[in-house]
Symmetry: none
Subunit: 277 residues, 2 copies
């Protein structure tokens, strides 16, 4: 028998790509190695490193990851967070405490469910983990779609880096296992998942960062982002507001068109509607 | 009034006692300390040690547990497993691989559920964790009612001691949290319901309509909403985009400020940043 025009093969369900783990400015190589082991424990393969303090590659990391060298060997290095997340369409930020940001707060379990849902649709997802002592900076958290917090004892909330990675990986794996057992896991769409995207696709992080830069440059020109000491907070507020709605690539183009139109309005003088008055 | 023989106070619902953690022949003090930290993270208080290789008390353990000294200080020492588990009515054994034993095999999640159920009935429960390299011996596992296995990647299954304790503690805590919220299961509203709104409130429909009118008037002035036959579609697209994000009253004020700033930018000529060029 020969294949006919239409493909006779049964397509396997598109492989779901596990989220990448992004370690921001990790200090000790041994913590990077331990995080890589935790990833390997639960089948996460892609590690991205943003400016590790002691440089890269790291012997300490390789040693601490012993038994799981593949993750460390494939790790990729980035200069800053925007570069590390540019291609992702869904980004989570792990934090140990609540921030004054209007963002959804997910448990590791709900985070895994969100990640799974999006990965199943072909989205590229990632999870940010902060520095050992100080965690993520507010500007880094502001780039994420949602925050992940583990339900720790408030009196003793500090998880080390590898443990935080472990919990996210563990919940990811639980879902994968549940699925391979043919169980229906709780994946019902809440909120954004209900969006019909039509022909468009979620905006990449690079497109969002372009939108932020465009808006902020115009607002700087207008004097809106003043006084200077309030600028960082104002910028984070605006970014959080825009991130809350899971913008598509089409949305980003629309908003950039709106910004350009608003700033152009007065360069051209009164519009035709007014001219005719 | 004096207290009578029997306590006159109304007892609160019997406090559910968290399971104890039993480390069997742990080798390194630092691993005991790390396990104690993981316990503290999730509100487990009772640590029992069976014949730690390097003796007890251990400076290395105290150092590794820094920040969570209470668990280490209250730890109790036993000569063997039977002595350490004598008072328990329900005992679990953690293992990394299946044993040839006819025992129920639980995930950390089901284990937590089982532990909770029994603790709520006043049972004293515990979980055995084995030596760093070799785990529990078969005779030790045989003492347990059931086995706990984490759903690890079979190609890289080794969890360290503190990580194994962490997963059990984490699942225990998840249940406790879910209960304290009066809900059956964990916990997270994905999407908008998870937003921490802080001091603000959802925008009223009138505030939203005011925002739409403001934006659309400015876009009319700029000539953005043209040609006229496309205007209705463009307006609907913009409104949908804004409605998708469940704006708060504060968001509406922010956005109206942004619109005003963008349209004013060129009325005032170049901003101060440009003037100084």
């Amino acid at each position: 028998m020969r294949a006919t025009g239409s493909s006779p093969q049964i397509e396997p369900a598109a492989a779901v790509v596990a989220p990448c783990v992004i370690l921001v400015a990790p200090q000790l190589g041994e913590n990077i190695g331990a995080a890589a082991r935790a990833m390997a424990n639960f089948g996460l393969a892609e590690l991205r490193l943003v400016a590790p303090r002691d440089g890269w590659p790291s012997q300490a990391a390789a040693k601490a990851a012993s038994g799981a060298p593949a993750v460390i060997e494939a790790a990729r290095l980035y200069a800053d967070v925007p570069a590390a997340v540019a291609d992702l369409t869904y980004l989570l930020a792990t934090t140990a405490r609540r921030r004054d940001m209007v963002k959804p707060v997910l448990s590791p379990e709900s985070a895994a469910r969100e990640l799974k849902l999006r990965a199943a649709r072909g989205e590229r997802c990632g999870v940010l983990f902060g520095r050992e002592r100080t965690g993520l900076e507010n500007d880094e958290v502001a780039l994420a779609d949602a925050i992940v917090m583990a339900p720790v004892n408030p009196a003793f909330a500090s998880l080390n880096l590898a443990q935080a990675v472990l919990l996210v990986g563990y919940e990811w794996r639980k879902l994968a296992d549940a699925e391979s057992l043919g169980r229906e896991t709780a994946v019902e769409p809440a909120g954004r998942e209900g969006l019909a995207l039509g022909d468009t696709r979620p905006a990449s992080r690079a497109e969002l960062i372009g939108l932020f830069a465009h808006l902020e440059a115009e607002l700087d020109r207008s004097g809106f982002l003043r006084p200077p000491e309030k600028r960082p907070t104002m910028v984070r507020t605006l970014r959080s507001l825009m991130l809350r709605q899971a913008l598509t690539e089409q949305d980003v183009r629309t908003l950039r068109g709106v910004i350009s139109a608003l700033t152009r309005a007065h360069e051209r003088g009164p519009g035709p509607g007014e001219r005719s008055k």
